[in-house]
């Protein structure tokens, strides 16, 4: 076996050799083994793509054609009935656009051992969730006579979050400028530091500011939901903050993911972003009950990540960066491209498909690839 493995190392991809090894029955003779390798290699070589094959277009067709069958319903349930997630065509468009801000950011946080078995999961979830002052308050009211804001704390929630009331007081006084804060029986009284001319309007603004004051947890995580998936507890969140969540000791950083591709690019790099584009698109496609081979999605993902940055397939992204003037002009905003070409004296070497179509010349893919010269 080892000999054969060595022999075929350069001929077959690792994955296939591994698969052969895994699926061999217990008793195989050496000649049989040889025969197996020979046949697999033969099969492998027969199934290779032809040079010149327009694989990019095939990938585009493979995703574009079933696009008409996808639902437009933005919201769908991603395994959890409580969480809204963008799926279907809008999600694919969102990914392919390479948007900076996605519609429904989400994380799946995998946990280290005692937690993944459901232990103390509620506490951990609360720790991750970003807690605003609003969440801790039972009531927020403005005392018009005194020109103060009265805050009634919700002790139950405070207990759940596990935060001391003094800490809250400190965070408030640090977070908002020029106020005095006084502790009372069941909350705080907040008074703007007297300048003598506070209007009610300003007080109202202050109240809104206080409401959204970040107290504890991880920023941007608006909701947390512990779910049991495949016999393991995970935490699903809405809102993402990969960088800060990864710093937690309780989680499993190797599997924890976000669905925000640009964020993954920043935190984990292009390779991770590339894989996550593949995963996200594939998830949608599976969800819709469509059947598309992964390599087509890989092709899209690789095109987007080719430069080392995640670039959208738009006139500002990949398409706008093509080498050929005519190819760019034929996509969108032709006037702009032609004009810029004219002032820079750009030369179009007619290397891609569309320019040659324009000029009625053979295109450089498929049967147009070989450039054979013959003597008459």
């Amino acid at each position: 076996m080892q000999e054969l493995k060595k022999e075929y190392k350069d001929l077959l991809p690792e994955k296939i050799i591994q698969e052969i090894e895994d699926s061999l029955p217990e008793k195989v003779s050496k000649t049989q083994l040889k025969e197996i390798f020979k046949r697999v290699l033969e099969e492998y070589e027969n199934s290779q793509v032809d040079p010149g094959e327009s694989v990019g277009l095939i990938a585009a067709e493979s995703i574009g054609e079933p696009g008409t069958q996808m639902t437009l319903n933005t919201f769908h349930f991603a395994g959890v009935a409580e969480m809204n997630v963008t799926t279907g065509l809008p999600r694919i468009i969102e990914i392919v656009d390479g948007r900076e801000k996605i519609k429904t950011p989400m994380m799946e946080i995998f946990l280290q051992k005692p937690y993944s078995e459901g232990e103390k999961i509620k506490e951990l979830a609360m720790k991750i969730k970003s807690t605003l002052l609003e969440d801790l308050a039972k009531e927020f009211s403005i005392n018009i006579g005194e020109l103060t804001i009265e805050l009634q704390l919700d002790r139950e929630v405070i207990k759940q979050v596990g935060i001391r009331e003094e800490t809250i007081q400190k965070t408030i006084s640090q977070g908002v400028k020029s106020i005095t804060i006084k502790k009372t029986e069941d909350g705080f009284i907040i008074r703007p530091r007297a300048k003598g001319n506070e209007s009610l309007n300003e007080l109202y603004k202050l109240k809104e500011k206080l409401r959204a004051l970040f107290i504890t947890g991880i920023k941007n995580i608006q909701q947390v939901l512990p779910v049991k998936r495949k016999g393991e507890w995970i935490i699903v969140t809405s809102g993402t903050n990969l960088k800060d969540v990864m710093k937690l000791k309780e989680i499993d950083p190797t599997r924890t993911i976000s669905n925000d591709i640009k964020e993954i690019r920043k935190v984990l790099g292009v390779e991770a972003a590339r894989q996550s584009i593949i995963n996200e698109v594939y998830k949608v496609i599976e969800d819709q009950g469509l059947n598309i081979n992964v390599r087509h999605i890989m092709m899209v993902s690789d095109t987007m990540c080719m430069t080392g940055e995640v670039k959208g397939i738009t006139r500002y992204g990949i398409v706008g960066e093509k080498a050929s003037v005519l190819a760019r002009a034929s996509f969108e905003t032709p006037i702009k491209h032609l004009l810029n070409a004219a002032i820079q004296g750009e030369e179009d070497h007619l290397i891609s498909v569309i320019e040659n179509v324009m000029l009625n010349q053979p295109v450089p893919t498929g049967t147009g690839l070989p450039t054979l010269k013959m003597k008459r």
């Binding site: 994955k15 793509v49 995703i63 059947n291 095109t303 498929g366």
Partner: protein, 860 residues
């Protein structure tokens, strides 16, 4: 002699195209006429010399000769003219560049507002970036340079203080709120030295900044703006001509006024007007300007509008082509023609021709076509002499042409059986939307196709039309045949399964045959014969044969297969005999036929195609002989089932009521992150959907074998859901993924009470289609219908645009000879296609079936 009729094919004529701008000098040089008068024609209707329709600019009238090149209509492609503008005018498309140039250079000395050392350094850097990272990186850099230079307050070269320059859109430049006229701007731009302009994104080799202010204007040739003669004999001029007429007229007036020494205000007004006309000549959709209009009020289509968008020159005329030798008509089905054939009406076949070169070996054969002429089929329409002259074959010319015919001539003969043609249905979303078929000339007026190839085209026969193209050269025919013929497209590159497969009655027919039918040998043979099979050796000698044995006789003898039918029961084929199981959608349908892929792999594409034809005919013939008709009684339920269904529905309704009560009492347990109302909706939806599914299951359980169940179970048409809706309960109607809630205030219809949240008031249809719907239920059904209609209408353009973007971005990725995937600039996208180089359409969905190979080897 061989050389005489070898066509000369030049592989590529154009190597590259360089874009650059015209200088005023160049404009005068390429122009053949100076336009000085706005008049177009004189009294006799003859184009005026020095007018816009000057015949030096090209000819558009038949019979006239071009004064410049001497050729006639269609031979002369036209020549440019020019106008001398009385005052310089800003070119609208360059406004941004002019602004950048003014802001970044000194108003006195014209130098870039950066220190000499920095300029030298940046020049060096720019060259470097262009070489290493390409033009895009360079453009980004230039942008940064422009922002850094424009904030300098005094010129580092001559120490002049700089003023703030702003642009008042569209074409007015202000310096300290005071207007700078184009003459001034032009003189400033003239001062900028060549070395400096490349730092603001202009290449001195191709453009000078002052060229962006027009002093002379190029007049496009008349061939680019032909006038049309209306039926009344009146001439109607092109939009561009109208616009140019305005420009010339105002320009003349401006000249006259300047020469007459008119007051400055009048001159300025005319100048502005000239600016407006020149601007709208280039772009009639400038945001701040009212578009120039026809007398009828519709905006003129000027140069920008001609190029832009889908109907513009680039996408409509350059990237999209028209073709001859094509035909379009309605399609209709014909299960008896081959799957790689297309039935072509005789009248089409007599119009579309194939050029056949005459050699001394096929002389007699071709002469027959000429003798039959254009009227008789199969004849020929034209003869092409070696010098390219075309001659129509008519009864009068026939004799003479026959005499004249010799090797090297080309005869265009009618389309005949076996010729290749490319068949296409829009929208052409994937490569299987254009496949090559063999022509089969048939009577009638429609194209005929085998219903099994409907799926790749996404065609049906409710009035669909399709296009037929006939390739005219040997190369094109060879490519069509080898790369595009139907059998080469059986396995889809999208998911590695067949896109072509039996549909509808072909599937249910085989299901009936393999499940229910036993036949005497004689009848079995008859059935097979009617399906086009004449080899009965596999039938054996038994007196009574069952359906599986009959079906087996079309399978190859060494075929082994183990799979699952649609209902999960095993299907076993051993040594070409169907031992167990039934044949249904999972075996021969499109998109999931595993058996099919096996056969395709083992026996090749041509065999598969033939087998598919036979299977589908066998199914159809079975149904023809033994019948399959459905009726209302198909979905009759026994009393027991109806009771069960009713019980389930009552329970579900009760559960809903309970939930509503809990909600009203505020006792409903809220799901995290949801409001009470949302929780209620979610829970009710869950309960009702479960109820519908349950009733469906009951209906399935009690359904007797009937045509309807056969269709559903074989996968021919319809599914459990359709059965359930017909027999048991239609179920919850939804709009935008929610229960129906809108309509009147607080209720859906006036027959319900306000704030009624119950199942029936929010679109739950408890009746079955068979029982009949109440008016309210029917109304809810129509809401769902309209909602899905809207969804489709919104989705189509969205997904179309996504597809266009994907295709545009990836169209030039291809596999190179070294196995890498690269784009047109030879940048690597993938090192190996899909990480292992396996073609989806040549493998089992992108993988190699290693287990199968091991099994084959181990078992010998």
């Amino acid at each position: 002699m061989a050389d005489d009729y070898t066509a000369i094919h030049v592989h590529k004529k154009v190597q590259s195209i360089t874009f650059q701008s015209f200088s005023p000098k160049m404009i005068k040089k390429i122009a053949v006429a100076k336009v000085v008068t706005p008049e177009l024609y004189d009294k006799e209707g003859y184009p005026v010399d020095g007018g816009l329709m000057d015949i030096r600019l090209g000819v558009i009238d038949p019979g006239l000769n071009c004064k410049t090149c001497g050729s006639r209509l269609k031979e002369c492609q036209g020549h440019f003219g020019y106008i001398e503008l009385a005052r310089p005018v800003i070119h609208i498309n360059f406004v941004a560049h002019i602004l950048a140039a003014l802001r970044t250079t000194c108003r006195e000395c014209g130098r870039l507002l950066l220190k000499q050392a920095k300029i030298n350094k940046l020049l060096e850097e720019l060259k470097q970036t262009e070489k290493e990272d390409g033009l895009d990186a360079k453009r980004a850099k230039i942008k940064a340079i422009i922002t850094s230079a424009r904030n300098t307050t005094s010129c580092p070269h001559c120490k002049t203080r700089q003023q703030k320059i702003t642009l008042e859109k569209p074409t007015t430049f202000l310096e300290n709120e005071k207007r700078v006229n184009p003459i001034e701007i032009r003189s400033r731009l003239e001062k900028i030295p060549d070395e400096d302009i490349s730092l603001i994104g202009l290449e001195s080799e191709f453009i000078r900044p002052e060229w962006m202010i027009l002093t002379v204007m190029l007049i496009p040739p008349v061939t680019m703006r032909p006038s049309i003669t209306l039926e009344t004999g009146e001439r109607s001029e092109d939009d561009l001509t109208h616009k140019l007429g305005d420009i010339v007229r105002i320009n003349q007036r401006l000249f006259e006024n300047i020469n007459a020494g008119a007051p400055e205000i009048i001159v300025e007004d005319l100048w502005d007007l000239l600016q407006y006309h020149v601007t709208t000549f280039f772009d009639n959709a400038v945001a701040q300007l009212p578009p120039a209009r026809h007398r009828s009020g519709q905006p003129l289509k000027t140069i920008s509008e001609r190029l832009k968008s889908k109907e513009g020159r680039i996408r409509h005329n350059l990237a999209g082509k028209r073709t001859n030798f094509s035909s379009r008509t309605v399609i209709s089905p014909d299960p008896r023609i081959g799957m790689n054939e297309v039935g072509v009406p005789k009248i089409v076949a007599q119009k579309i021709t194939i050029p056949e070169t005459v050699t001394k070996w096929n002389m007699d054969y071709i002469k027959e076509f000429i003798e039959r002429g254009a009227e008789n089929y199969p004849g020929s329409n034209y003869i092409i002499r070696p010098d390219g002259k075309r001659k129509r074959i008519t009864d009068e010319t026939k004799e003479q042409l026959l005499e004249e015919l010799q090797p090297g001539y080309v005869v265009e003969r009618h389309l005949m059986d076996g010729d290749v043609a490319i068949f296409n249905r829009q929208p052409s979303l994937h490569k299987m939307s254009m496949m090559c078929h063999r022509v089969k000339v048939l009577p009638g007026r429609t194209f005929r196709i085998n219903p099994a190839v409907c799926h790749p085209y996404n065609a049906d026969f409710d009035g669909d039309e399709m296009n037929l193209h006939v390739p005219q050269t040997e190369e094109a025919r060879a490519e069509a045949e080898i790369l595009m013929e139907v059998q080469t497209q059986i396995i889809s590159p999208r998911y590695g399964l067949s896109v072509i497969g039996c549909i509808q009655d072909a599937i249910s027919g085989n299901y009936v045959l393999t499940k229910f039918i036993d036949l005497p040998r004689k009848e079995a043979a008859e059935l097979l014969y009617s399906a086009g099979i004449d080899d009965f050796s596999k039938l054996g000698t038994k007196k009574i044969l069952n359906g599986r044995e009959i079906f087996s006789s079309i399978l190859p003898e060494d075929l082994d297969f183990e799979g699952k039918a649609k209902d999960g029961t095993p299907v076993v084929i051993k040594k070409g005999k169907l031992v167990e199981g039934v044949i249904d959608d999972n075996a021969f349908g499109s998109e999931k036929a595993l058996l099919f892929r096996r056969i395709h792999k083992k026996y090749g594409k041509d065999f598969t195609l033939k087998l598919m034809e036979q299977v589908s005919l066998l199914g159809i013939e079975t149904l023809l002989k033994y019948g399959l008709s459905s009726g209302l009684s198909d979905i009759d339920m026994p009393k027991e089932a109806t009771e069960k269904i009713e019980e389930t529905l009552t329970k579900a309704k009760q559960a809903t009521e309970d939930l509503i009560k809990q909600f009203r009492d505020g006792e409903l347990e809220i799901l995290p992150g949801r409001s009470m109302e949302e929780t209620l909706e979610l829970k009710i939806m869950e309960v009702l959907n479960k109820a519908r599914n349950e009733t469906g299951n009951i209906a399935q359980e009690y359904a007797k074998v009937s045509a309807t169940t056969i269709m559903a179970r074989s996968g021919a048409r319809g599914g459990p859901l359709n059965m359930a809706q017909m027999a048991a309960c239609v179920g919850q109607q939804a709009m935008r993924g929610k229960r129906i809630g809108k309509g009147y205030k607080g209720r859906t219809l006036s027959c319900f009470k306000e704030k009624d949240l119950s199942a029936e008031a929010r679109g739950f249809v408890e009746n079955s289609f068979k029982k009949g719907l109440t008016p309210a239920e029917f109304f809810f059904g129509s809401i769902t219908g309209r909602d899905s209609l809207m969804d489709t209408a919104l989705r189509t353009p969205k997904s179309g645009y996504l597809y266009r973007r994907l295709a545009n971005a990836m169209q030039d990725l291809k596999v190179e000879y070294d196995g890498t995937i690269r784009d047109s600039a030879k940048k690597v996208v993938q090192f190996k296609y899909g990480e292992d180089g396996i073609d989806v359409s040549r493998s089992e969905n992108g993988t190699i079936n290693i287990k199968q190979i091991i099994q084959d080897v181990v078992e010998g």
